[in-house]
């Protein structure tokens, strides 16, 4: 039976982890390689790096991070943030990323998804959708949640599937950082209209939220950042909890 996945996400800025696991015995809390290794040893099903480097001159730092991590971590590695072109995707894959998530560039031009999925295969193309509720619908936001494209998130999800994306990473902008749980309504609606796996993101504050994301939100995988930071919960604990709730996980 296929297992639901737990994916810890690390924010990386200028090649350093911004909010990471704060273990006492950690040599360098800012080292993405060391953090990723801790997660994979703890049973993470995949690792996600979100590059939030703001300045262009430091953009190349992520390539070095991916290169080093992929030599030490033997679970799938997804990298996103600031990916603009097919060439950016190519570079990340060559450095050892297994999947690349594309957000703003896909909204501006769906051809990026079409072209890259043809060139590299759908299995490595993740369309990242940042959605925010506006009355009865959700709208797609770009540029790290700063700009509203006005595009309907459900229609956009379908378009991403049709363009060849292998997975959707759906983040609720309303919930991101709030720790009150995923936007279940958004997740379940998107998951029911597409036939590709959905990764739920944004809002996890406790382990029950992960359960809800899968059971109610119909997500194939759940992504979380802050609950795994500062050692609040380990990935292992999260998996044992999901298992106790009858959710199939890899233990």
């Amino acid at each position: 039976m296929l297992k639901n996945r737990i994916i810890p996400c690390l924010d990386v800025k200028n090649g350093r982890v911004v909010k990471g696991i704060n273990f006492v015995d950690l040599k360098d809390a800012g080292d993405p390689v060391e953090q990723a290794k801790i997660y994979s040893d703890s049973g993470a099903d995949e690792i996600c790096f979100l590059d939030i480097t703001a300045s262009n001159e430091n953009r190349d730092t992520i390539y070095d991070v991916v290169k080093k991590t992929s030599k030490k971590c033997f679970v799938p590695l997804t990298v996103g943030g600031g990916v603009r072109s097919v060439e950016d995707i190519n570079k990340l894959l060559n450095c050892g990323a297994d999947k690349v998530s594309i957000n703003t560039a896909a909204v501006q031009n769906a051809e990026v998804i079409l072209e890259s999925s043809k060139k590299f295969g759908s299995q490595c193309i993740v369309a990242a959708i940042d959605a925010k509720k506006n009355e009865n619908k959700w709208e797609v936001f770009t540029h790290g949640g700063r700009n509203n494209s006005g595009i309907d998130a459900l229609e956009f999800a379908k378009k991403m599937e049709d363009s060849g994306a292998g997975e959707l990473l759906v983040t609720s902008m309303d919930r991101d950082g709030t720790q009150v749980g995923y936007d279940i309504d958004l997740m379940s609606k998107i998951s029911s209209i597409v036939n590709i796996p959905v990764i739920a993101s944004g809002g996890v504050g406790n382990l029950d939220h992960l359960v809800d994301g899968i059971k109610l939100g119909k997500a194939s995988a759940v992504l979380a950042a802050s609950i795994f930071h500062y050692g609040k919960h380990s990935v292992k604990e999260a998996k044992e909890y999901l298992d106790s709730k009858g959710i199939p996980v890899r233990i």
Binding site: M1, K3, V75, K119, G121, Q123, C124, E167, N195, I196
Partner: protein, 208 residues
């Protein structure tokens, strides 16, 4: 011992290279090449594959003499070869992704789309699934039955001779996920992304 990972522009092979180098350390010489002479002088070959069946077959055919060299290596000399994902699928006679495409024809059978039972199952089949070992295979040494492996694919290999199947996995149906025919080995899952248990399979292949 020299092991060659065939680089025929089939997409991203970094993870395959990293994992084999990690396992081999300095004991085994791991090379990445499409050079025919290097392939001929290898003791073992790994054939990765990403993207569609057709794009991989096209890429292999676009390197002059590569198919002949692989045939010589695997069929005539019977030296060990491991196909991963589409690398395994290409063992078939035919694939039906995009267009009907001729495969390497090493193991009779076809590659067709996984039946998603009218959308009941998501495709691609992505994530960790357990393998049911149904035949003793040399690459499964020290691998327990029901171990988790990482999968990502929408097409499955259906061999004619069921005796070549060494493991299956349970999704919308029973999917062939590992084959062994004499010196030819293949996994539909990605040992290079299946954590320690995947590295064990790589080690088993290296130690053959």
């Amino acid at each position: 011992m020299k092991l060659t990972i065939v680089d025929y522009n089939s997409g991203n092979i970094s993870s395959v290279v990293n994992s084999f180098k990690e396992v081999a350390q300095n004991k085994v010489n791991v090379e990445v090449a499409s050079d025919l002479n290097k392939i001929k002088s290898s003791d073992k070959i790994v054939l990765p594959g990403q993207g569609s069946f057709k794009s991989c077959v096209d890429a292999i055919n676009s390197i002059n003499g590569l198919v002949d060299s692989l045939n010589e290596f695997a069929i005539n000399q019977k030296k060990p070869l491991l196909g991963i994902c589409v690398g395994l699928q290409m063992f078939a006679d035919k694939g039906y992704e995009e267009l009907e495409t001729k495969g390497l024809g090493w193991i009779s059978g076809k590659v067709s789309k996984i039946d998603n039972q009218n959308g009941k199952y998501k495709l691609p089949h992505i994530g960790w699934n357990q393998i049911n070992i149904i035949k003793k295979s040399k690459i499964f040494k020290n691998i327990e039955n029901n171990s988790h492996m990482y999968f990502v694919h929408s097409y499955e290999f259906i061999p004619e001779d069921k005796n070549v199947i060494s493991a299956t996995t349970d999704y919308s149906s029973n999917i062939v996920c590992s084959v062994e025919k004499e010196n030819i080995f293949g996994t539909q899952f990605h040992p290079e992304k299946s954590d320690k248990i995947g590295l064990q399979i790589i080690e088993n292949f290296i130690k053959l």
